[in-house]
């Protein structure tokens, strides 16, 4: 077995590292990057206080349908539904949906890699938005009150007071999300997009050495996630020492 692993590494190292590892990193990076962007907006939308029907509650009644409607926030509602749907359905289903379903209604010419990236980013956004939300809510509400009492508006308060404090809670969590995404990109191999599990499929298709190839691929995943988790730890330690 050991000789087989050496042989495979000599013969296919480019497939494992230059293709598999590279695509795994690229896919994860795209997913997390756009996941964070989109996730931040979803978190803000979820916590927004947009109440378009507020005007109907002129007599400030406290109960009933009118009261409910007056306090109804459609943006927050849509964001919550989005999060529930993404978190409540399997990633594999979402990947199928994006790769086979979406191109039917969105007429753009793009390869599997594009749709898979998009699916991973949209999936990640739901989880990241919850990280943002809990990170923001972990900041003492007194901070918001102090800022607002000075005349700062909501955006200034969020940007200058709440976010700088929340980011310390959020960054390590996003790092952990990155680690989770690295593992989840393996599902993209269903569509043969070139990441590490695709490398396994490719090489195994020729060599029929499933165990050895899985060990190689597994070690690469492990090296990647281990490095990332060490980075997250180092960051957390630096924060705590401040």
């Amino acid at each position: 077995m050991f000789e087989n692993i050496i042989m495979l590494l000599e013969k296919y190292w480019q497939v494992f590292l230059l293709e598999g590892l590279r695509y795994t990193i690229i896919l994860s990076a795209i997913a997390v990057f756009f996941g964070v962007l989109l996730g931040a907006f979803i978190a803000l939308g979820r916590m927004s206080s947009i109440k378009p029907f507020k005007f109907i509650n002129v007599n400030k009644k406290k109960k009933g349908f009118i009261h409910w409607l007056a306090n109804f926030n459609p943006v927050s509602w849509i964001c919550s539904v989005y999060i529930e749907v993404i978190r409540g359905t399997p990633l594999l289903l979402q990947l199928y949906l994006f790769v086979f379903g979406l191109p039917k209604i969105i007429p753009i010419k793009a390869d599997y890699f594009f749709w898979v990236s998009l699916a991973l980013a949209c999936n990640s956004a739901a989880y990241v938005s919850e990280l943002f939300r809990s990170g923001i809510q972990a900041v003492d509400y007194g901070q918001t009150e102090a800022a607002r009492s000075l005349g700062m508006n909501k955006a200034q308060t969020m940007l200058r007071v709440v976010m700088p404090q929340a980011i310390k809670n959020i960054l390590p969590a996003v790092g952990n999300e990155f680690i989770a995404i690295v593992k989840e990109t393996s599902m993209a191999s269903t569509f043969f997009v070139g990441e590490l599990m695709t490398s396994y499929l490719k090489v195994n298709g020729v060599e029929y050495l499933a165990l050895e190839i899985l060990i190689i691929v597994g070690v690469i995943y492990l090296a990647l996630t281990f490095t990332l988790s060490k980075l997250v730890l180092a960051y957390e330690r630096r924060l705590n020492s401040k």
Binding site: K62, E145, A146, S149, L150, G151, M152
Partner: protein, 241 residues
């Protein structure tokens, strides 16, 4: 300067304010005392709309700030607030705590804001701490910083919500001194406090709030030496001396 008309506020089914009519004149120092849960903080927080009243009006410098058409941020600039738990900004230095709002709300230049901040910090004995992190301060220093932070916006009125309740006893004095100094300059102030001696000393008027209503009010002498309402008497007998 501030006038409340028939102020009502409830949290869920709990009626906290049951019709408060108060008027704070320019330059006046009003202390609010009363038993825990009586609605003192809620009333104070309504004054700058940190709590939205269910009904009633709050006039600040002639404008009804409960109206939804009002830009509340504009009026809040003119009302400084000091909180029980200081709420200094931990991610900023002492100086930045003071300059943040003036620079981004009033768009005052960085240097000018810093200069003004140093002057204020100097007044409360925090000048040499200017570049330290706000988190490194003691409780008393944090509260003095919070006062200066509010003053930097050059407010017309200051609202204090139990500014010394969260302090270790040995630090109460230094904060009360700062407030006394401020009051002497003629700053209109509304102070919720459990420090009866302090209320007696600095107030023009003392308001006793109990059960969501103003049960009694008057000069410090009226309230502390000749209370009329049995509830006031009862409260004072428990907290005083």
């Amino acid at each position: 300067m501030i006038k409340t008309v028939d102020l009502y506020k409830s949290f869920g089914d709990l009626q906290v304010l049951k019709g408060i009519n108060e008027h704070v004149a320019p330059g006046e120092v009003v202390s609010i005392i009363g038993p825990s849960g009586g609605g003192k903080s809620t009333f104070l927080r309504c004054l700058n709309m940190l709590e939205t009243p269910d009904s009633g009006s709050i006039f600040f410098e002639g404008v009804d700030i409960t109206s939804e058409k009002v830009d509340i941020d504009l009026h809040r600039q003119k009302m400084g607030m000091v909180f029980q738990h200081f709420n200094v900004f931990p991610h900023l230095s002492v100086l930045e705590n003071v300059t943040l709002a003036p620079t981004i709300v009033k768009k005052i230049g960085k240097n000018e804001a810093a200069e003004q901040a140093m002057e204020l910090l100097n007044r409360v004995g925090l000048a040499e701490k200017a570049n330290e992190r706000a988190t490194s301060l003691s409780g008393g220093q944090k509260q003095r910083l919070a006062i200066v932070r509010a003053l930097a916006m050059e407010p017309d009125v200051m609202l204090f919500d139990e500014p010394t309740s969260a302090l270790d006893p040995e630090m109460v004095g230094e904060v009360l001194e700062v407030i006394k100094g401020l009051v002497k300059t003629g700053m209109t102030s509304v102070i919720v406090t459990h420090e009866m001696g302090f209320a007696k000393e600095v107030s023009d008027r003392v308001v006793f709030i109990d059960g969501g209503i103003v049960a009694e009010e008057g000069t410090p002498d009226d309230i502390f030496n000749h209370p009329q309402n049995p509830r006031t008497k009862d409260f004072l007998s428990k907290v005083l001396y």
